[in-house]
């Protein structure tokens, strides 16, 4: 079974700062806080258009027109 967690080192001073910052919040541990920040940082929204085949596009547009969703 693969291990679910691993260890990352951060400066002790930073650890203490985080510990202080999350006191009285819903965040249960420094590890949870760090994981949350990293997930946020790693998420990148790519403003790309969906790529559908021309055939698919035409078929979909035809159906949307027939159903009255587009003119």
């Amino acid at each position: 079974m693969e291990k679910e967690f691993t260890t990352v080192s951060i400066p002790t001073s930073l650890y203490k700062k985080i510990e202080e910052a999350i006191k009285g919040t819903d965040i249960s541990s420094v590890a949870s806080y760090v994981a949350k920040i990293l997930r946020e940082a790693l998420y990148k929204e790519e403003a790309e258009q969906d790529v559908f085949s021309k055939e698919d596009e035409e078929k979909v547009k035809k159906r949307l027109k027939a159903l009255g969703y587009i003119d």
Binding site: R39, E40, Y43, E48, D50, D56, V60, L64, Y69, I70
Partner: protein, 382 residues
């Protein structure tokens, strides 16, 4: 356009020769008959509604979803999507082989490429997904009735099952093209299992003020006793949109899916689904996907804190009511008047009036909408 959850819109619909071959091969494969809800899951996987899922969850994803509200890949996912079968049925199936999934009408729906069979603990699902083991909770009743073994593996859809609401059924591919055709760069999704009252209209239009379009997305499928019938929900929304929305700013399409009533976990699930449809925002109201008093009224909003990378932006609405002094729909942040001036949007009160054949006050329900509901002899699920 917002990317689908996990970055890729799943398309596992067989076409052309592949479909013909699968239909032929289906005659030789061991069959499993699925109920309408599981067939909806199959179709939602195949059409990308449940992207990035490509099939029924294997054990690693299942356990990770239960314990961490994430797939094994760490991607947010809060509701197990699983296929349960009886022990005897599972025993006859060979890992690595194909199984044909049959709908209630006896037609071949999809091929399951069986990768895993595993046991599970019903009580663990109850506790972790629903936060209760109370048999009175509709989700728990369903879990208790599940069969003993879960099957995991990718699926390929051969054909969609018939629905009387096909006219309202759009896939994420279709909604994404639709939103693009309408030049909507920002779209707010509205999940509903009710007919609309003025309060719903207020939050929809409040949200619409800040985005390009609204996607009204009623859940069609198994619901609890006393909920409005699907046909009534659709007809009443049609009427509301026709009379009170701009055609170029509002569209409605259905989501064929069973309500789980899992409160906060289901709110995240609903957000992921709307993201796959192409929504950039989702409305999350008070007690979203809740039932009875099982969840804190704002638990379904607070849970979003745990998923900063979700991508879709939740728009939170607290309670709202009609104020006789303000003469409009307001909330506790916008209205200074005392409770005596408030008229609450009580679903029960509205329902009682409709059952008696009385029109609810126009401050609560649009008369056009009330008229549509009252045209049904029994608008509620029995």
């Amino acid at each position: 356009m917002i990317q689908p959850h996990g970055g890729k819109l799943i398309d596992r619909i067989l076409k052309g020769d592949e479909k013909r071959e699968a239909l032929e091969k289906a005659k030789t494969l061991p069959p499993i008959k699925l109920d309408a809800e599981s067939i909806s899951d199959v179709e939602n996987i195949a059409t990308g509604v449940f992207s990035p899922l490509e099939g029924f969850m294997g054990e690693a994803d299942f356990r990770s979803v239960l314990s961490h509200m994430r797939l094994a890949s760490d991607l947010p996912w809060t509701i197990p999507i699983v296929l349960d079968v009886e022990k005897g049925v599972a025993g006859k199936l060979r890992l690595g082989s194909d199984v044909i999934l049959i709908n209630e009408g006896g037609d071949a729906s999809a091929v399951l490429h069986l990768e895993e069979k595993y046991a599970y603990d019903k009580e663990e699902i109850a506790r972790k997904v629903f936060g209760t083991t109370d048999a009175a909770h509709p989700g728990i009743a369903k879990v208790k009735g599940m069969k003993d073994v879960l099957l995991g593996g990718k699926i390929d859809l051969i054909q969609e099952s018939p629905t009387p609401y096909v006219r309202y059924k759009l896939s994420p591919k279709e909604t994404r093209i639709l939103f693009r055709e309408k030049n909507w760069r920002t779209v707010v999704g509205f999940q509903t299992r009710n007919t609309p009252h003025i309060g719903h209209e207020y939050i929809q239009k409040s949200a619409l003020t800040f985005v390009d379009g609204i996607f009204i997305n009623p859940v069609i499928g198994k619901k609890k006793k006393g909920d409005y019938k699907d046909a009534v929900i659709l007809a009443s929304y049609e009427e509301l949109i026709r009379n009170y929305y701009l055609k170029e700013r509002a569209v409605m399409a259905i989501l064929m899916m069973e309500m789980r009533y899992a409160g906060p976990r289901e709110a995240i699930f609903h957000a992921i689904i709307r993201k796959n449809f192409g929504c950039t925002h989702i409305i999350i109201g008070r007690d979203h996907a809740g039932v009875g008093n099982y969840y804190h009224p704002y638990a379904a909003q607070d849970i979003f804190e745990e998923f900063p990378e979700l991508g879709i932006v939740p728009l939170f609405f607290r309670s709202f009511y009609y104020c006789k002094k303000c003469q409009s729909v307001v909330n506790d942040k916008t209205c200074p008047h005392p409770p005596a001036d408030q008229i609450q949007f009580s679903g029960t009160k509205i329902r009682d009036l409709l059952v008696k054949g009385e029109y609810p006050p126009a401050e609560l329900v649009r008369p056009e909408v009330a008229k549509i509901i009252m045209e049904y002899k029994n608008p509620f699920n029995e």
